[in-house]
């Protein structure tokens, strides 16, 4: 095939391109709604979920870490999906959620006597948490991956993992409203395990779905 003939064919294809950032922002809104919908169908917010927000810093941190992760991972996705876009700021921002959680863990260890650490870490319902975060995240993950298909990420696996982190962060924040385990020690183990499982699912799906 001659290149000038290919150019003629491309120019003849007048299909309107859809701007990736537009597709992606709509997808994020849909993903958040889907996650919230699934959460409310499966679980319900704990009795005092509003009141506790003003009285427990642990609860706030738990919610916040998930949200920060979701936002920063989505921001990174918006960059890696566009060839040539700068990534440095987005990569740095990805450190925010782990850093916030690490500070929470250190603070917890400073104020809680060592004898209670293990009990707080193990908590109750750890398995339930680890299963439900991935479950809540599946629908948002699907929506985000679908939108990413109109992007052009150079590494499909990495993009899939980031999509998993975004969906997992969102799911973790939603699950946090149900869960009555507020210790950062609990969050750092079981929530993180659930989110990482989601990231692994995202990476596996991304490596197939996001090639272009």
């Amino acid at each position: 095939m001659r290149t000038d003939a290919l150019i003629e064919a491309l120019a003849a294809d007048g299909a309107k391109p859809r701007r990736f950032l537009r597709v992606f922002s709509v997808a994020l809104a849909v993903a958040a709604a889907a996650g919230a919908g699934v959460f409310l169908m499966m679980l319900k917010p704990r009795a005092n979920f509003l009141a506790v927000a003003s009285s427990s810093m642990r609860y706030d941190l738990k919610l916040l870490v998930g949200l920060i992760l979701a936002v920063t991972a989505a921001f990174a996705l918006s960059r890696i999906a566009r060839p040539g876009a700068s990534r440095r700021g987005a990569n740095l921002a990805l450190l925010l959620a782990p850093a916030a959680l690490a500070i929470g863990v250190l603070a917890e260890m400073a104020v809680v006597p060592q004898s209670e650490w293990v009990a707080r870490l193990v908590g109750t319902n750890a398995g339930f948490c680890m299963v439900h975060i991935p479950l809540i995240s599946l629908a948002p993950l699907g929506v985000i991956l679908f939108a990413m298909r109109s992007g052009a990420a150079d590494s499909p696996t990495r993009a899939g993992a980031l999509a998993g982190l975004a969906a997992g962060g969102l799911a973790a924040s939603l699950y946090a409203v149900f869960c009555n385990q507020d210790s950062p020690l609990f969050v750092a183990v079981w929530y993180v395990a659930g989110v990482l499982a989601t990231a692994a699912i995202g990476a596996a799906m991304g490596s197939r779905l996001l090639r272009w």
């Binding site: 290149t3 003939a5 294809d13």
Partner: protein, 178 residues
């Protein structure tokens, strides 16, 4: 600057601006790919394959270009990606390096006239009307009108088949890679 303006005009439906843009980009890409291929020793036809796959990707992924950004780096990043794929593909095919024959091969003709083998082979992966339409336009040089008349289709149906055919061509590149 000029490329950005053409890109915007193309998005607004100006096919002539788009054709001009793609023609200039293909020259730019040829230079980029040749410079980058350096020691990997891509032959002229291989370079043209990468140029074509990149043009196709630019077309299908033009929604990822941000109007606030210059076109050059965006195009170069896509070219880099496609070049890595092409080298990987070449590795798997275990071809004898064409360099070895450089002395006995005739000097390559003007590259724009050069017909690439890969894209033609990939066209075979397309089926039915998509194959007919893409082949008629890219190989036989026909326009939408002529194709519509030849296959007794509406202009709109030809456009749809062309768009889907180009997407199928890009995914044929992808599966060829595996």
């Amino acid at each position: 600057m000029r490329w950005s303006a053409w890109m915007k005009a193309a998005e607004a439906g100006d096919a002539a601006a788009y054709r001009r843009l793609l023609a200039e980009l293909s020259d730019f890409l040829r230079a980029v790919v040749r410079r980058r291929s350096g020691s990997s020793g891509l032959a002229a036809a291989d370079i043209e394959d990468v140029v074509q796959e990149t043009l196709l990707a630019i077309h299908l992924k033009r929604g990822t270009w941000d109007p606030g950004q210059p076109v050059g780096p965006w195009v170069a990043a896509i070219a880099r990606n496609k070049m890595i794929d092409a080298l990987r593909r070449r590795g798997r095919r275990l071809e004898v390096p064409v360099d070895d024959f450089a002395e006995i091969l005739p000097a390559p003709v003007d590259e724009e006239q050069l017909s690439t083998r890969e894209t033609e082979r990939l066209l075979l992966a397309l089926k039915g009307r998509q194959h007919d339409v893409v082949k008629a336009i890219t190989m036989d040089g026909e326009d939408i009108r002529t194709v519509a008349t030849r296959f007794a289709m509406s202009d709109g149906a030809v456009r749809v088949a062309l768009h889907r055919g180009l997407k199928a061509l890009a995914s044929a590149y992808r599966s060829f890679r595996e």
